[in-house]
């Protein structure tokens, strides 16, 4: 394979220098593990990604799943990939030993996902959604439900889905209409339609376990009346084999821009007597359960965005190094050989921006995963709480920044390939189409803006925001010790002041008029995202500056110089855009808000 999925040196850097993953080995949960085991697991992940996922990237795109007599058909390579991933033990990797898992740390598992995401996001969606549904059952299911359904997903005999969205309700889940009626035997009968359900049906695993949000008859209105149900496609026999067909069918497939190898369907529940559903946890707590899993799922989506951006960057870099085109302005000899694209300053600018977005996104997602890890396994309750509160604050940003700048990054990759980039003979146009989903699903960008400004900043009495400011300040202080990044630290420090003033101003505006105050939450989210992006780059810059202070092997020297340059680029070229936003937001500028429907 000429173009790598990620960059192995960067993977090593992120896991063992940027994050101190080896330190996890001191925690009792990971005492059986070692760095050797982490690395061997990642080697297997990479092999599977290269051999069984990357091999059908284009085929899956050109042959979307079809619906034939109510059965979804897809290209056979998808099942081979699913089986390889399952047989390697990855579906169960991060679960407990007692549950048949391997207790793999979250960050290592996410890196496994990064490899398969980079190879083929359309196929990687199956294990992604499966582990998401498994996590839900594991966290909130009863002992019997775990015994019955969790093992099926963990060993690959069933996939899972997340059924939230309906034709009428996407962003506003409080208004869903899917109903559940209690039956005499303690189960429920589910009636309703779900929309846009990923992996809703397929022929890669024997069963599909749908995790469905529905309202029990008589439940309170809005989000407080939503419950969570397990609704299997086939009822499950005691030995785990698929039994009778449940009353849930594919009503139709959606024909998508990207992620085409992922089945996406409208599902009808209860066309006959009602689909048999099993209530998870307590009634009316369903959305809460979903949301407790959201941080993880949202980092997962962002990680997909990071991986697709990374692939685009790798492809355009490879192309730019091999395509001779034109000469530099300073060259007067028209008979001299043409230079490679990478020698043009503008192409390097595009590559450097992609490097900042894609490596920055991967780093940001792994950082988020490390907070998630600490939320569960940090040695003290105080630390676990701190990490939870910080992660809750940052999740909207970690979901949105890689998704937004992933799209911009993949757009730049096409630009570098010129005409070739616009054709289907090169992969960058598909990567762009695949990427475009990420700012939409798992909460559209605007919804995350509202979540951040309207809810997360003041959650826990503002503790998460406070921890964020403390942690950034600590890194700024550290960075000031290193000559090459001293000035970057100063810029981030100023940006933090701007953020604080803007935040205070918006909170005040929200107090006066909540609709006006929240009107530009998406812009605030972008501002916050640029600051978190700059922080992530400053953190990498600190490590690079420290490494460069001693003599290095040539390849390491290049690696760290690259990190430093990207940190410089992001903080000097992209961070300052917040100044303009801050001015508009602090002034309460209301031009978009006051625009009226009739005036369009």
């Amino acid at each position: 394979m000429s173009v790598p999925l990620l960059n192995d040196r960067d993977v090593e850097f992120l896991l063992y220098e940027f994050l101190d993953t080896e330190k996890l080995l001191e925690r009792p949960r990971y005492s059986e593990h070692s760095r050797e085991i982490f690395d061997a697991s990642l080697r297997t992940a990479k092999t599977i990604a290269e051999k069984y996922f990357a091999n059908h990237l284009v085929e899956g795109d050109e042959n979307e799943p079809t619906l034939e007599n109510g059965i979804v058909k897809m290209i056979p390579e998808t099942k081979v990939a699913w089986d390889a991933f399952a047989n390697a033990g990855f579906l169960a990797a991060h679960q407990d030993y007692e549950e048949g898992g391997m207790q793999m740390p979250e960050v290592i598992f996410r890196m496994v996902m990064a490899y398969v995401n980079a190879a083929n996001i359309g196929t990687a969606a199956y294990p992604f959604v499966a582990t998401g549904s498994a996590n839900l059952i594991r966290a909130f299911g009863s002992v019997e439900q775990k015994a019955k359904f969790l093992t099926l997903i963990m060993d690959g005999r069933s996939n899972g889905t997340m059924c939230l969205t309906e034709p009428g309700q996407g962003s506003a889940l409080g208004d869903i209409t899917t109903m559940a009626a209690p039956a005499d035997d303690g189960t429920y009968r589910v009636f309703g339609q779900k929309m846009f359900i990923s992996c809703a049906d397929h022929d890669i695993a024997g069963n599909v376990i749908h995790m469905v949000l529905a309202k029990i008859k008589g439940a309170p209105p809005g989000v407080k009346g939503i419950s969570l149900f397990i609704v299997p496609k086939f009822l499950v026999n005691d030995d785990g084999s698929p039994g009778e067909r449940n009353d849930v069918v594919v009503a139709g497939l959606n024909h998508k821009m990207g992620y085409r190898n992922t089945t996406n369907a409208a599902l009808n529940f209860g066309e006959k007597d009602g689909a048999i559903g099993y209530l998870v946890g307590e009634a009316n707590k369903g959305l809460g359960y979903m949301f407790q899993m959201m941080n993880e799922a949202r980092i997962g989506v962002a990680l997909g965005a990071a991986a697709i951006a990374y692939q685009g960057f790798n492809h355009s870099l490879d192309y730019a190094r091999q395509r001779p085109q034109g000469r530099l302005a300073s060259c007067k000899d028209q008979l001299s050989p043409q230079v490679m694209l990478v020698e043009h300053a503008d192409v390097r600018r595009l590559l450097l921006a992609q490097k900042a977005y894609s490596e920055g996104s991967l780093a940001m997602c792994l950082f988020g995963s490390s907070l998630f890890e600490n939320q569960n396994s940090a040695p003290t309750q105080e630390l676990r709480t701190r990490n939870t509160q910080l992660l809750d604050l940052l999740t909207p940003v970690i979901k949105s920044w890689p998704s937004k700048y992933g799209c911009i990054s993949n757009d730049m990759a096409i630009q570098i390939l010129g005409g070739a980039g616009y054709t289907r003979e090169y992969p960058v146009e598909q990567l762009y189409r695949d990427q475009r989903l990420n700012p939409i699903h798992e909460g559209a960008e605007a919804i995350h803006g509202l979540d951040l400004l309207g809810r997360k900043l003041s959650l826990y009495g503002g503790a998460g925001y406070q921890f964020f400011k403390e942690d950034v300040a600590q890194d700024i202080a550290k960075a000031k010790d290193f000559e090459p990044i001293k000035n970057l630290a100063g810029k981030l420090e100023n940006a933090m002041d701007v953020l604080e003033k803007t935040t205070q101003s918006l909170q005040q505006q929200m107090g006066v008029d909540i609709d006006r105050g929240l009107a530009n939450a998406t812009v605030y989210l972008d501002m916050f995202g640029r600051i978190v992006g700059a922080w992530i780059w400053l953190k990498q810059g600190i490590i690079a500056a420290e490494a460069l202070s001693s003599s290095l092997h040539e390849s390491d020297e290049h690696f760290y110089r690259g990190k430093l340059q990207a940190a410089n680029y992001y903080i000097e070229w992209e961070l300052p855009a917040i100044e303009q936003y801050a001015e508009l937001l602090q002034a309460g500028n209301s031009v978009p808000f006051e625009m009226q429907d009739e005036w369009f």
Partner: protein, 250 residues
């Protein structure tokens, strides 16, 4: 039946290896290392023999730097039972490797020794043959199919003219070619289990083997860059150039 498999630590096949700037050898600092792909095929074959109930024990051996333990561990995760690591900082030639393997054969008395046909770093294609000579056992190189039948084996070999089928008596040396099998990947449970399997460490000196090089590397340099081609006007010009410039036809 006991099988000994030899694995070598080499630069990963994806890596473009460069010569050191002082031309003293390839620059392997910071390079990603892996099991030689042909050795991986040899390990896979041994594991398949065990799964078929033919082999009872698979011992994997590597000779080289301490870091080669990683490749032994990988082979254990693929299904080998225990490992032997023979450590030395000397740059090893094929003969030294074959001698070390001979010493291990003396200690372990395997029925089959499986090796890769060659390693992708030196591309020598020597070690299996030399081990055959040192042990006096039968050898079947370039194997693309291996069938065990009691105390003999039938091996299909890839040779220039096509495929050659031979029968050999055990104990024997078999070297794996590319099409012998498609190696598996190590599953997570097996990676975890491999951690608990034993790896015995020893040195060439302990085995009574002198590994001092018999040859000296004078210089390592990259191949000359290929010059851009040209388009010829017609066949006559092509023939002329082949005759008078390239001097490849007369």
């Amino acid at each position: 039946m006991k099988i000994l498999v030899a694995v070598k630590r080499v630069a990963d096949y994806n890596v473009k290896v460069r010569a050191k700037s002082d031309n003293t050898g390839p620059d392997l600092a910071n390079v990603k290392m892996a099991i030689n792909p042909f050795c991986e095929i040899a390990v896979e074959e041994a594991v398949r023999l065990k799964e078929k109930g033919i082999a009872t024990e698979i011992i994997v051996v590597s000779i080289g730097a301490q870091a080669a333990q990683e490749q032994v561990r990988t082979a254990l995760a693929l299904g080998a039972d225990r490992g032997i690591l023979i450590t030395t900082d000397t740059d090893l030639e094929s003969l030294a490797v074959a001698k070390c393997l001979k010493a291990v054969c003396d200690n372990e008395s395997p029925d089959i020794v499986l090796l890769g046909k060659q390693a992708i770093d030196g591309d020598n294609n020597h070690t299996g043959q030399m081990l055959g000579a040192l042990t006096g056992w039968a050898q079947a190189t370039f194997a693309s199919e291996l069938t065990i039948d009691g105390d003999s084996a039938t091996v299909i070999r890839e040779v220039d003219a096509g495929l050659q089928t031979i029968q050999i008596k055990l104990p024997a040396i078999v070297t794996a070619d590319l099409r012998l099998n498609e190696p598996r990947y190590a599953s997570l449970p097996n990676i975890m289990k491999a951690k608990k399997k034993t790896i015995d460490s020893t040195t060439p000196a302990d085995l009574g083997v002198d590994v001092a090089p018999r040859t000296t590397l004078l210089k390592a340099e990259p191949p000359a860059e290929r010059k851009a081609g040209i388009k010829v006007e017609d066949v006559a010009q092509l023939v002329d150039k082949l005759k008078n410039e390239a001097k490849v036809i007369s």
